[in-house]
Amino acid sequence: MAPVPDQHAQDLLAQYQSLLPVYKQMADVIPEKLKGFFDEAGIIVAAVEHRVKSEESLAGKLKLKGGKYRDIFDITDLVGIRVITFYIDDVDKVASVLERLFEIDWENSIDKRKAHEIDSFGYLSLHYICRIPESAYTNPEHPELNRIRFEVQMRTVLQHAWANMNHDTGYKSGVEIPRVYLRNLSRLAGMLELVDDEFSRIRRELSDYRRSVQKLVASGNLGEVQLDGDSFKSYLQIGPFDMLSRRIASINQAEIQPVDLSAFLGVFKAMGFKTLGDLAALIKDYSDAAYQIACFQMGITDLDILSSSVAPQNLCTAYILKNGGGRAGLKLMLDALNGPSESNGFMADFLLEQTKDLPFMNK
């Protein structure tokens, strides 16, 4: 039979029951609001979890240390929220969002990351005890809302995984765990800490790389920039095919529909281009040929709409034909752009027929 709580604990449990709807509302609303603020701040989080402490769990806590609390508002973890980030740097960003939104009870908040000795490894998490300031939100029907403190735990997915595994060992159950298991868990914590740092370092280096590529693209040093997804995206931002597109559009005073050109990266790589400088050379050397193809195709039509992909498509066509790629090369290009299909073979034949007498083919 469960022990009957003392009078003080019973009073606290009664207060808890009367405030339970408010706790539940807070646990539902605050995470949703937080997600919105994280989005605005550009922070991608893995998850935002929440829970309201159960009455049973509270009763257990009160049994152990009920005398510590004067009233229910002294208990700070009845509403618990957990923000799980992908990167360790984002834990501090999430914390700064909380600092802007809530009153932080610094005395009861704890940074477990700083709690370890230099030679120990284990639970790493940042815990803030928060309160909703009246300046941010009040509810006349529930004035106690601004008195209720709640806990927000912030950690990375790896820290979260370790904390869960550690919890599963049942070290709090009173059963003594052999030293070797605890040491293994501690070793794992050390390893995950290293992995977290590595993920953050890789992200920082990627950001640095992207910035340096953007700088090189902007300065025109294209020969130094390797052709890859990031560099091609940066290159497209300066509109390298725009001049040729406008020239082609002028044939029929056509309207240009801008479309995503990222599919051309695979074609350019298959054509052996290594740097953005190679692409710049392609545009410089083959724009006239690409224009000739467009003139031949569109000059006898009244088509006055085209997509921005015509310019790179015609550049690739001209390059393939001038460099001996022939039908097979054209079909490969069309397969890459339009998806593999037998009909691309027909289009390749058609292109061969259309271009065979154009001036650029006979230079």
């Binding site: 529909q257 997509s307 921005s308 069309l334 752009l337």
Partner: protein, 100 residues
């Protein structure tokens, strides 16, 4: 120009029959605009009996593509003749659609 529309489960198939020139585009615009409402799902434009397409016709295709992009749907162009495929290629429309 005629458009026959069939709905089966979540798939809408529009059979385009005849020449899709500028007057025909104006004529079928209300029907095609109606298809934009279905663009959140799968819309198939069957061109097996479409003999010609003008810029106005291409604009109709593009309108549907934009509606599908906004609604997360898919436009499939089916059974196009080689002549129309050539028009799609020279205008850069070929890689804007899933062609079957």
């Amino acid at each position: 120009m005629e458009v026959k529309i069939e709905r089966e489960n979540a798939v809408v198939t529009a059979y385009l029959i005849g020449r899709l020139d500028t007057p025909a585009s104006l004529e079928i615009a209300p029907q095609v605009n109606g298809l934009s409402a279905d663009a959140g799902g799968k819309v198939i434009l069957d061109c097996s009996e479409l003999s010609y397409i003008s810029s106005s016709g291409l604009r109709i295709f593009l309108t549907l593509r934009k509606a599908a992009a906004e609604k997360g749907g898919k436009i499939i162009v089916r059974n196009i003749s080689n002549d129309i495929r050539n028009v799609f290629m020279m205008t850069g429309f070929l890689n804007l659609f899933e062609i079957q």
